[in-house]
Protein backbone atom coordinates (compact mmCIF):
# COMPACT_ATOMS: atom_id res chain seq x y z
CA UNK A 1 0.00 0.00 0.00
CA UNK A 2 3.01 2.31 0.33
CA UNK A 3 2.56 3.81 -3.13
CA UNK A 4 2.47 7.52 -3.88
CA UNK A 5 -1.33 7.63 -4.22
CA UNK A 6 -1.65 6.16 -0.74
CA UNK A 7 0.68 8.73 0.79
CA UNK A 8 -0.96 11.54 -1.21
CA UNK A 9 -4.39 10.51 0.09
CA UNK A 10 -3.01 10.39 3.63
CA UNK A 11 -1.45 13.83 3.40
CA UNK A 12 -4.43 15.46 1.65
CA UNK A 13 -6.94 14.22 4.22
CA UNK A 14 -4.70 15.28 7.09
CA UNK A 15 -4.27 18.76 5.64
CA UNK A 16 -7.98 18.97 4.92
CA UNK A 17 -8.78 18.28 8.56
CA UNK A 18 -6.05 20.30 10.24
CA UNK A 19 -4.83 22.76 7.64
CA UNK A 20 -6.98 25.56 9.04
CA UNK A 21 -5.36 25.35 12.43
CA UNK A 22 -3.07 28.10 13.63
CA UNK A 23 -0.09 27.20 15.82
CA UNK A 24 -2.03 28.12 18.98
CA UNK A 25 -4.75 25.58 18.26
CA UNK A 26 -2.22 22.92 17.35
CA UNK A 27 -0.33 23.54 20.59
CA UNK A 28 -3.55 23.37 22.62
CA UNK A 29 -4.51 20.02 21.11
CA UNK A 30 -1.06 18.49 21.00
CA UNK A 31 0.66 19.98 24.04
CA UNK A 32 -1.73 21.55 26.57
CA UNK A 33 -4.30 18.75 26.52
CA UNK A 34 -1.91 15.77 26.73
CA UNK A 35 0.30 17.45 29.34
CA UNK A 36 -2.80 18.43 31.33
CA UNK A 37 -4.00 14.83 31.28
CA UNK A 38 -0.69 13.49 32.56
CA UNK A 39 -0.44 16.15 35.28
CA UNK A 40 -4.04 15.64 36.43
CA UNK A 41 -3.72 11.90 36.79
CA UNK A 42 -0.24 12.07 38.31
CA UNK A 43 -1.60 14.47 40.92
CA UNK A 44 -4.58 12.21 41.52
CA UNK A 45 -2.29 9.24 41.95
CA UNK A 46 0.07 11.07 44.29
CA UNK A 47 -2.66 12.70 46.38
CA UNK A 48 -5.31 10.02 46.53
CA UNK A 49 -3.77 6.64 45.94
CA UNK A 50 -0.25 7.40 47.12
CA UNK A 51 2.76 5.19 46.79
CA UNK A 52 3.05 5.17 43.01
CA UNK A 53 5.77 7.15 41.28
CA UNK A 54 4.71 9.85 38.81
CA UNK A 55 6.55 7.93 36.07
CA UNK A 56 3.89 5.18 36.40
CA UNK A 57 1.28 7.69 35.21
CA UNK A 58 3.60 9.30 32.67
CA UNK A 59 4.18 5.96 30.92
CA UNK A 60 0.51 4.97 30.97
CA UNK A 61 -0.89 8.28 29.79
CA UNK A 62 1.79 8.79 27.12
CA UNK A 63 0.83 5.50 25.50
CA UNK A 64 -2.81 6.48 25.85
CA UNK A 65 -2.09 9.69 23.94
CA UNK A 66 -0.82 7.47 21.10
CA UNK A 67 -4.32 6.00 21.01
CA UNK A 68 -5.83 9.44 20.82
CA UNK A 69 -4.34 10.00 17.36
CA UNK A 70 -5.38 6.65 15.94
CA UNK A 71 -8.84 6.74 17.44
CA UNK A 72 -9.91 10.35 16.96
CA UNK A 73 -8.08 11.31 13.77
CA UNK A 74 -9.92 8.89 11.54
CA UNK A 75 -13.22 9.37 13.32
CA UNK A 76 -13.15 13.17 13.07
CA UNK A 77 -12.08 13.06 9.42
CA UNK A 78 -14.93 10.69 8.62
CA UNK A 79 -17.56 12.64 10.54
CA UNK A 80 -16.41 15.87 8.89
CA UNK A 81 -16.59 14.18 5.49
CA UNK A 82 -19.99 12.82 6.39
CA UNK A 83 -21.29 16.26 7.36
CA UNK A 84 -19.95 17.60 4.06
CA UNK A 85 -21.73 14.80 2.15
CA UNK A 86 -18.48 13.25 0.94
CA UNK A 87 -18.81 9.76 2.37
CA UNK A 88 -20.75 8.57 -0.66
CA UNK A 89 -17.72 9.21 -2.87
CA UNK A 90 -15.71 6.71 -0.85
CA UNK A 91 -18.20 4.05 -1.93
CA UNK A 92 -17.80 4.86 -5.60
CA UNK A 93 -14.01 5.21 -5.50
CA UNK A 94 -12.02 2.54 -7.36
CA UNK A 95 -10.00 1.72 -4.23
CA UNK A 96 -11.46 -0.48 -1.47
CA UNK A 97 -12.70 1.44 1.60
CA UNK A 98 -10.03 -0.11 3.86
CA UNK A 99 -7.34 1.30 1.56
CA UNK A 100 -8.79 4.79 1.88
CA UNK A 101 -9.60 4.49 5.58
CA UNK A 102 -6.14 3.25 6.47
CA UNK A 103 -4.59 6.03 4.35
CA UNK A 104 -6.67 8.59 6.24
CA UNK A 105 -5.64 7.01 9.54
CA UNK A 106 -1.91 6.86 8.76
CA UNK A 107 -0.90 10.49 9.48
CA UNK A 108 -3.03 10.56 12.62
CA UNK A 109 -1.35 7.40 13.87
CA UNK A 110 2.08 8.93 13.18
CA UNK A 111 0.91 12.15 14.78
CA UNK A 112 -0.30 10.32 17.89
CA UNK A 113 2.90 8.31 17.94
CA UNK A 114 5.03 11.45 17.86
CA UNK A 115 2.92 13.24 20.48
CA UNK A 116 2.96 10.20 22.76
CA UNK A 117 6.69 9.63 22.29
CA UNK A 118 7.45 13.32 22.96
CA UNK A 119 5.27 13.27 26.07
CA UNK A 120 6.92 10.08 27.27
CA UNK A 121 10.41 11.49 26.76
CA UNK A 122 9.51 14.81 28.41
CA UNK A 123 7.68 13.13 31.27
CA UNK A 124 10.51 10.72 31.99
CA UNK A 125 12.97 13.62 31.94
CA UNK A 126 10.85 15.66 34.36
CA UNK A 127 10.44 12.69 36.71
CA UNK A 128 14.16 11.90 36.30
CA UNK A 129 13.45 8.37 35.20
CA UNK A 130 15.88 6.66 32.86
CA UNK A 131 14.29 3.71 31.05
CA UNK A 132 16.56 0.72 31.51
CA UNK A 133 15.35 -1.06 28.37
CA UNK A 134 14.76 1.77 25.85
CA UNK A 135 14.43 -0.59 22.90
CA UNK A 136 11.69 -2.53 24.66
CA UNK A 137 9.97 0.78 25.45
CA UNK A 138 10.10 1.76 21.78
CA UNK A 139 8.54 -1.57 20.79
CA UNK A 140 5.78 -0.98 23.34
CA UNK A 141 5.04 2.49 21.94
CA UNK A 142 4.89 1.16 18.36
CA UNK A 143 2.66 -1.71 19.42
CA UNK A 144 0.36 0.64 21.32
CA UNK A 145 0.07 2.85 18.23
CA UNK A 146 -0.74 -0.19 16.06
CA UNK A 147 -3.40 -1.39 18.50
CA UNK A 148 -4.93 2.06 18.68
CA UNK A 149 -4.98 2.37 14.90
CA UNK A 150 -6.79 -0.97 14.59
CA UNK A 151 -9.25 0.12 17.28
CA UNK A 152 -9.74 3.40 15.42
CA UNK A 153 -10.48 1.55 12.16
CA UNK A 154 -13.09 -0.66 13.83
CA UNK A 155 -14.67 2.25 15.70
CA UNK A 156 -14.86 4.49 12.64
CA UNK A 157 -16.57 1.76 10.63
CA UNK A 158 -19.08 1.21 13.41
CA UNK A 159 -19.62 4.98 13.55
CA UNK A 160 -20.77 4.91 9.94
CA UNK A 161 -23.62 2.64 10.98
CA UNK A 162 -24.88 5.11 13.59
CA UNK A 163 -27.04 8.12 12.89
CA UNK A 164 -24.75 10.36 14.90
CA UNK A 165 -21.92 11.87 12.90
CA UNK A 166 -20.30 13.70 15.77
CA UNK A 167 -18.22 10.90 17.14
CA UNK A 168 -20.22 9.87 20.20
CA UNK A 169 -19.12 6.27 19.73
CA UNK A 170 -15.49 7.37 19.42
CA UNK A 171 -15.77 9.38 22.63
CA UNK A 172 -17.31 6.44 24.47
CA UNK A 173 -14.60 4.08 23.18
CA UNK A 174 -11.95 6.57 24.28
CA UNK A 175 -13.48 6.85 27.76
CA UNK A 176 -13.55 3.06 28.01
CA UNK A 177 -9.93 2.97 26.92
CA UNK A 178 -9.05 5.62 29.51
CA UNK A 179 -10.67 3.43 32.13
CA UNK A 180 -9.68 -0.07 31.07
CA UNK A 181 -6.22 0.25 29.54
CA UNK A 182 -4.49 0.51 32.90
CA UNK A 183 -2.96 3.94 32.31
CA UNK A 184 -4.37 5.30 35.55
CA UNK A 185 -5.80 2.33 37.41
CA UNK A 186 -4.42 -1.14 37.94
CA UNK A 187 -7.00 -3.84 37.10
CA UNK A 188 -7.51 -4.69 40.77
CA UNK A 189 -8.64 -1.11 41.41
CA UNK A 190 -11.52 -1.43 38.95
CA UNK A 191 -15.01 -2.56 39.95
CA UNK A 192 -15.23 -6.35 39.63
CA UNK A 193 -17.58 -6.38 36.57
CA UNK A 194 -15.07 -4.36 34.54
CA UNK A 195 -12.00 -6.49 35.25
CA UNK A 196 -12.52 -9.15 32.54
CA UNK A 197 -12.86 -6.45 29.85
CA UNK A 198 -9.69 -4.77 31.14
CA UNK A 199 -7.75 -7.99 30.59
CA UNK A 200 -8.27 -7.88 26.83
CA UNK A 201 -8.69 -4.15 26.17
CA UNK A 202 -6.31 -2.63 23.58
CA UNK A 203 -3.21 -0.91 25.02
CA UNK A 204 -3.56 -2.69 28.36
CA UNK A 205 -0.66 -5.09 27.78
CA UNK A 206 1.45 -2.55 25.90
CA UNK A 207 1.24 -0.21 28.90
CA UNK A 208 2.10 -3.01 31.31
CA UNK A 209 5.04 -3.98 29.12
CA UNK A 210 6.18 -0.34 28.86
CA UNK A 211 6.24 0.02 32.65
CA UNK A 212 8.35 -3.12 32.87
CA UNK A 213 10.62 -1.81 30.11
CA UNK A 214 11.27 1.30 32.22
CA UNK A 215 12.46 -1.07 34.95
CA UNK A 216 14.65 -2.92 32.45
CA UNK A 217 12.53 -5.98 31.64
CA UNK A 218 11.28 -7.27 28.28
CA UNK A 219 7.72 -8.36 29.07
CA UNK A 220 7.39 -10.74 26.15
CA UNK A 221 4.13 -12.26 27.35
CA UNK A 222 2.50 -8.84 27.52
CA UNK A 223 3.95 -7.83 24.14
CA UNK A 224 2.62 -11.04 22.58
CA UNK A 225 -0.81 -10.48 24.16
CA UNK A 226 -0.96 -6.92 22.78
CA UNK A 227 0.07 -8.20 19.37
CA UNK A 228 -2.81 -10.69 19.45
CA UNK A 229 -5.28 -7.95 20.45
CA UNK A 230 -4.04 -5.69 17.64
CA UNK A 231 -4.22 -8.55 15.11
CA UNK A 232 -7.78 -9.46 16.12
CA UNK A 233 -8.87 -5.82 15.81
CA UNK A 234 -7.12 -5.47 12.45
CA UNK A 235 -8.84 -8.62 11.19
CA UNK A 236 -12.14 -7.22 12.42
CA UNK A 237 -11.46 -3.97 10.59
CA UNK A 238 -10.64 -5.83 7.36
CA UNK A 239 -13.74 -7.98 7.64
CA UNK A 240 -15.87 -4.95 8.45
CA UNK A 241 -14.48 -3.04 5.47
CA UNK A 242 -15.32 -5.93 3.14
CA UNK A 243 -18.90 -6.01 4.41
CA UNK A 244 -19.09 -2.24 4.21
CA UNK A 245 -17.94 -2.34 0.59
CA UNK A 246 -20.53 -4.96 -0.34
CA UNK A 247 -23.26 -2.89 1.33
CA UNK A 248 -21.92 0.29 -0.26
CA UNK A 249 -22.12 -1.18 -3.78
CA UNK A 250 -25.71 -2.18 -3.13
CA UNK A 251 -26.77 1.11 -1.58
CA UNK A 252 -24.46 3.57 -3.30
CA UNK A 253 -23.08 4.97 -0.06
CA UNK A 254 -20.84 4.00 2.83
CA UNK A 255 -23.09 5.88 5.21
CA UNK A 256 -24.93 3.04 6.91
CA UNK A 257 -27.55 5.30 8.37
CA UNK A 258 -28.83 6.68 5.05
Amino acid sequence: VADSAYLRTAWTSYRWLLGWLRPGAFLAAKVANPVGQVVLFSLLGAAVAGGRPASWYVVGNSLLICAFGGLYGLSITLSTARNAGLVGYLATAPRPPLWTLSAIALPHVLDGLLTGAALLTGGLLVTRTVPRAPLALLVCVLLAAASAAALGLVTSQLSLLARDGRGVLTNVVYLLTLLLCGANLAPDQLPAPLRPAAEVWPLRHAIDAARQAVEGRWATADLAAELVVAAVLAAGAALGARRLQTAARRRGTLDGWL
Binding site: W20, L21, R22, G24, A25, L27, A28, A29, A32, N33, G36, Q37, V39, L40, F41, L43, L44, G45, A46, A47, V48, A49, G50, A162, R163, D164, R166, V168, L169, N171, V172, L175, L176, L178, L179, N184, L185, Q189, L190, P191, P193, L194
Partner: protein
Protein backbone atom coordinates in the same frame (compact mmCIF):
# COMPACT_ATOMS: atom_id res chain seq x y z
CA UNK B 1 -60.04 32.54 21.79
CA UNK B 2 -60.61 36.21 22.53
CA UNK B 3 -58.35 38.81 20.98
CA UNK B 4 -56.90 39.86 24.31
CA UNK B 5 -56.17 36.25 25.23
CA UNK B 6 -54.44 35.72 21.89
CA UNK B 7 -52.38 38.88 22.42
CA UNK B 8 -51.50 37.67 25.89
CA UNK B 9 -50.40 34.32 24.48
CA UNK B 10 -48.36 36.14 21.87
CA UNK B 11 -46.66 38.18 24.52
CA UNK B 12 -45.86 35.09 26.52
CA UNK B 13 -44.34 33.47 23.45
CA UNK B 14 -42.01 36.32 22.74
CA UNK B 15 -41.47 37.95 26.11
CA UNK B 16 -38.68 37.56 28.63
CA UNK B 17 -40.41 34.82 30.70
CA UNK B 18 -39.98 32.26 27.93
CA UNK B 19 -36.26 32.86 27.57
CA UNK B 20 -35.06 30.25 30.09
CA UNK B 21 -37.23 27.60 28.45
CA UNK B 22 -36.02 28.62 25.01
CA UNK B 23 -32.41 28.48 26.15
CA UNK B 24 -32.86 25.05 27.68
CA UNK B 25 -34.61 23.89 24.49
CA UNK B 26 -31.82 25.27 22.32
CA UNK B 27 -29.22 23.56 24.47
CA UNK B 28 -31.02 20.24 24.65
CA UNK B 29 -31.57 20.33 20.86
CA UNK B 30 -27.96 19.19 20.54
CA UNK B 31 -28.93 15.93 22.17
CA UNK B 32 -31.65 14.94 19.72
CA UNK B 33 -29.13 12.51 18.25
CA UNK B 34 -30.07 9.33 20.13
CA UNK B 35 -26.55 8.33 21.10
CA UNK B 36 -25.51 11.77 22.35
CA UNK B 37 -26.93 11.56 25.89
CA UNK B 38 -24.75 8.49 26.40
CA UNK B 39 -21.83 10.90 26.73
CA UNK B 40 -23.60 12.77 29.52
CA UNK B 41 -23.56 9.50 31.44
CA UNK B 42 -20.42 7.79 30.14
CA UNK B 43 -18.01 10.56 30.99
CA UNK B 44 -18.86 10.96 34.69
CA UNK B 45 -19.04 7.20 35.00
CA UNK B 46 -15.54 6.76 33.54
CA UNK B 47 -13.97 9.59 35.52
CA UNK B 48 -15.88 8.53 38.62
CA UNK B 49 -14.49 5.01 38.42
CA UNK B 50 -11.02 6.52 37.99
CA UNK B 51 -11.30 8.71 41.08
CA UNK B 52 -13.07 6.13 43.25
CA UNK B 53 -10.74 3.37 42.08
CA UNK B 54 -7.72 5.49 43.03
CA UNK B 55 -9.14 6.16 46.48
CA UNK B 56 -7.18 4.52 49.25
CA UNK B 57 -9.09 2.20 51.59
CA UNK B 58 -8.28 4.45 54.55
CA UNK B 59 -9.10 7.71 52.72
CA UNK B 60 -10.25 10.56 54.93
CA UNK B 61 -12.05 12.42 52.11
CA UNK B 62 -15.74 11.40 52.04
CA UNK B 63 -16.69 9.15 49.11
CA UNK B 64 -19.29 11.68 47.93
CA UNK B 65 -16.61 14.35 47.57
CA UNK B 66 -14.28 11.99 45.69
CA UNK B 67 -17.06 11.01 43.29
CA UNK B 68 -18.22 14.62 43.00
CA UNK B 69 -14.76 15.51 41.66
CA UNK B 70 -15.56 13.40 38.60
CA UNK B 71 -18.97 15.04 38.37
CA UNK B 72 -17.30 18.44 38.56
CA UNK B 73 -15.01 17.57 35.66
CA UNK B 74 -18.03 16.50 33.61
CA UNK B 75 -19.83 19.70 34.55
CA UNK B 76 -16.86 21.75 33.44
CA UNK B 77 -16.52 19.81 30.17
CA UNK B 78 -20.20 20.41 29.40
CA UNK B 79 -19.98 24.11 30.19
CA UNK B 80 -16.80 24.56 28.20
CA UNK B 81 -18.39 22.60 25.37
CA UNK B 82 -21.47 24.80 25.63
CA UNK B 83 -19.37 27.94 25.51
CA UNK B 84 -17.24 26.72 22.63
CA UNK B 85 -18.47 23.94 20.35
CA UNK B 86 -22.18 24.59 20.90
CA UNK B 87 -21.91 28.29 20.06
CA UNK B 88 -19.63 27.39 17.16
CA UNK B 89 -22.27 24.96 15.86
CA UNK B 90 -24.93 27.65 16.25
CA UNK B 91 -22.77 29.91 14.11
CA UNK B 92 -21.96 27.23 11.53
CA UNK B 93 -25.63 26.41 11.11
CA UNK B 94 -26.58 30.07 10.73
CA UNK B 95 -28.61 30.43 13.91
CA UNK B 96 -26.21 32.81 15.59
CA UNK B 97 -27.00 35.57 13.13
CA UNK B 98 -30.66 35.24 14.06
CA UNK B 99 -29.74 35.56 17.72
CA UNK B 100 -27.70 38.67 16.95
CA UNK B 101 -30.57 40.15 14.98
CA UNK B 102 -33.12 39.53 17.73
CA UNK B 103 -34.08 42.39 20.08
CA UNK B 104 -33.09 40.33 23.12
CA UNK B 105 -29.61 41.24 24.40
CA UNK B 106 -27.15 38.65 23.08
CA UNK B 107 -25.28 38.59 26.38
CA UNK B 108 -28.49 37.47 28.12
CA UNK B 109 -29.14 34.85 25.46
CA UNK B 110 -25.68 33.31 25.76
CA UNK B 111 -25.81 33.43 29.55
CA UNK B 112 -29.10 31.53 29.53
CA UNK B 113 -27.77 29.08 26.98
CA UNK B 114 -24.86 28.29 29.28
CA UNK B 115 -27.14 28.21 32.31
CA UNK B 116 -29.06 25.49 30.46
CA UNK B 117 -25.78 23.59 30.11
CA UNK B 118 -25.24 23.97 33.86
CA UNK B 119 -28.71 22.55 34.56
CA UNK B 120 -28.14 19.63 32.15
CA UNK B 121 -24.79 18.92 33.77
CA UNK B 122 -26.56 17.87 36.98
CA UNK B 123 -27.38 14.59 35.22
CA UNK B 124 -23.64 13.91 35.05
CA UNK B 125 -23.15 14.84 38.69
CA UNK B 126 -25.99 12.55 39.72
CA UNK B 127 -24.33 9.66 37.87
CA UNK B 128 -21.02 10.41 39.53
CA UNK B 129 -22.25 10.64 43.11
CA UNK B 130 -24.98 7.98 42.97
CA UNK B 131 -23.92 5.28 40.52
CA UNK B 132 -20.15 5.27 40.88
CA UNK B 133 -19.95 4.52 44.64
CA UNK B 134 -22.53 1.79 44.07
CA UNK B 135 -20.21 0.19 41.48
CA UNK B 136 -17.64 -0.15 44.23
CA UNK B 137 -20.18 -1.64 46.60
CA UNK B 138 -20.60 1.53 48.67
CA UNK B 139 -24.11 2.57 49.63
CA UNK B 140 -24.87 6.24 49.03
CA UNK B 141 -25.00 8.07 52.34
CA UNK B 142 -28.23 10.13 52.36
CA UNK B 143 -26.94 12.60 54.92
CA UNK B 144 -23.70 13.13 53.03
CA UNK B 145 -25.59 13.67 49.79
CA UNK B 146 -27.92 16.20 51.42
CA UNK B 147 -24.95 18.10 52.82
CA UNK B 148 -23.26 17.96 49.41
CA UNK B 149 -26.20 19.51 47.57
CA UNK B 150 -25.39 23.20 48.28
CA UNK B 151 -21.79 22.52 47.28
CA UNK B 152 -22.91 20.92 44.01
CA UNK B 153 -25.17 23.88 43.23
CA UNK B 154 -22.21 26.15 43.98
CA UNK B 155 -20.09 24.07 41.61
CA UNK B 156 -22.66 24.50 38.84
CA UNK B 157 -22.65 28.24 39.48
CA UNK B 158 -18.85 28.31 39.50
CA UNK B 159 -18.38 26.46 36.24
CA UNK B 160 -21.14 28.56 34.69
CA UNK B 161 -19.35 31.77 35.72
CA UNK B 162 -16.03 30.45 34.38
CA UNK B 163 -17.68 29.42 31.11
CA UNK B 164 -19.27 32.86 30.83
CA UNK B 165 -15.94 34.63 31.35
CA UNK B 166 -14.48 32.59 28.50
CA UNK B 167 -17.37 32.97 26.06
CA UNK B 168 -16.16 36.26 24.50
CA UNK B 169 -12.85 34.58 23.74
CA UNK B 170 -14.47 32.29 21.20
CA UNK B 171 -13.83 34.67 18.38
CA UNK B 172 -13.18 32.14 15.68
CA UNK B 173 -13.09 28.48 14.78
CA UNK B 174 -9.49 28.38 15.93
CA UNK B 175 -10.43 29.74 19.31
CA UNK B 176 -12.83 26.88 19.88
CA UNK B 177 -10.09 24.29 19.66
CA UNK B 178 -7.57 26.37 21.59
CA UNK B 179 -9.80 26.99 24.56
CA UNK B 180 -11.65 23.70 24.60
CA UNK B 181 -8.60 21.47 24.33
CA UNK B 182 -6.40 23.77 26.33
CA UNK B 183 -8.64 24.37 29.33
CA UNK B 184 -10.36 21.11 30.27
CA UNK B 185 -7.60 19.72 32.45
CA UNK B 186 -6.01 22.96 33.73
CA UNK B 187 -9.29 24.13 35.28
CA UNK B 188 -9.87 20.65 36.74
CA UNK B 189 -6.37 20.78 38.26
CA UNK B 190 -6.78 24.34 39.58
CA UNK B 191 -10.28 23.55 40.83
CA UNK B 192 -8.91 20.71 42.94
CA UNK B 193 -11.47 18.31 41.47
CA UNK B 194 -9.19 15.28 41.64
CA UNK B 195 -6.46 16.29 44.08
CA UNK B 196 -5.97 19.08 46.63
CA UNK B 197 -4.67 22.34 45.19
CA UNK B 198 -2.18 22.46 48.08
CA UNK B 199 -0.18 19.86 46.16
CA UNK B 200 0.51 22.47 43.45
CA UNK B 201 3.29 25.08 43.39
CA UNK B 202 2.44 28.30 45.27
CA UNK B 203 1.99 30.34 42.10
CA UNK B 204 -0.60 27.90 40.77
CA UNK B 205 -2.34 27.92 44.13
CA UNK B 206 -2.72 31.69 43.83
CA UNK B 207 -4.01 31.33 40.27
CA UNK B 208 -6.49 28.70 41.46
CA UNK B 209 -7.84 31.10 44.07
CA UNK B 210 -8.75 33.53 41.29
CA UNK B 211 -11.15 30.99 39.77
CA UNK B 212 -14.66 30.16 41.06
CA UNK B 213 -14.32 26.32 40.74
CA UNK B 214 -11.57 26.30 43.39
CA UNK B 215 -13.87 27.99 45.92
CA UNK B 216 -16.89 25.92 44.92
CA UNK B 217 -15.02 22.66 45.40
CA UNK B 218 -13.73 23.90 48.76
CA UNK B 219 -17.33 24.75 49.67
CA UNK B 220 -18.39 21.24 48.70
CA UNK B 221 -15.62 19.71 50.79
CA UNK B 222 -16.39 21.94 53.76
CA UNK B 223 -20.14 21.39 53.59
CA UNK B 224 -19.73 17.60 53.51
CA UNK B 225 -16.72 17.12 55.75
CA UNK B 226 -17.04 20.19 57.96
CA UNK B 227 -15.01 23.36 58.08
CA UNK B 228 -15.46 27.13 58.00
CA UNK B 229 -17.89 28.14 55.27
CA UNK B 230 -17.91 31.93 55.46
CA UNK B 231 -14.50 32.69 53.86
CA UNK B 232 -15.14 30.09 51.18
CA UNK B 233 -18.53 31.58 50.31
CA UNK B 234 -16.97 35.05 50.19
CA UNK B 235 -14.23 33.81 47.86
CA UNK B 236 -16.79 32.15 45.64
CA UNK B 237 -19.00 35.24 45.48
CA UNK B 238 -16.05 37.47 44.67
CA UNK B 239 -14.69 35.29 41.89
CA UNK B 240 -18.15 34.69 40.39
CA UNK B 241 -18.76 38.45 40.29
CA UNK B 242 -15.35 38.91 38.68
CA UNK B 243 -16.22 36.39 35.97
CA UNK B 244 -19.58 38.06 35.32
CA UNK B 245 -17.80 41.40 34.97
CA UNK B 246 -15.31 39.89 32.51
CA UNK B 247 -18.22 38.45 30.55
CA UNK B 248 -20.11 41.76 30.43
CA UNK B 249 -17.06 43.73 29.29
CA UNK B 250 -15.90 41.00 26.92
CA UNK B 251 -19.27 40.74 25.21
CA UNK B 252 -19.39 44.52 24.72
CA UNK B 253 -16.00 44.40 23.04
CA UNK B 254 -16.98 41.44 20.85
CA UNK B 255 -20.29 42.99 19.80
CA UNK B 256 -18.56 46.26 18.95
CA UNK B 257 -16.12 44.31 16.84
CA UNK B 258 -18.95 42.53 15.06
CA UNK B 259 -20.67 45.86 14.31
CA UNK B 260 -17.39 47.45 13.20
CA UNK B 261 -16.41 44.63 10.87
CA UNK B 262 -19.93 43.89 9.71
CA UNK B 263 -19.31 40.19 10.09
CA UNK B 264 -22.20 38.31 11.62
CA UNK B 265 -21.18 35.76 14.22
CA UNK B 266 -18.25 35.75 16.53
CA UNK B 267 -15.64 35.38 13.84
Amino acid sequence: MSRSAAEGLGRRRTGLPVLPGAALGAYVRQYVVPAAPILLLAQPLAFGVLTMGSRAADATVPATVTAAGAGALSMWTLLLGGASWSLWTERQQGRLRLALASPTPVAALFALFLAAAAVASFASVAVAVLAVPALFGERPDGGELARALPGLVALALAVLATGLALTPLFVGADGVVVWFDGLIYPVAILGGFFAPVSALPRLLELLAAALPPYWAFRLLTASVGGGPLRPVVAGLALTVLGCVAVYAVGMRVVLHRIRDTGSVGLG
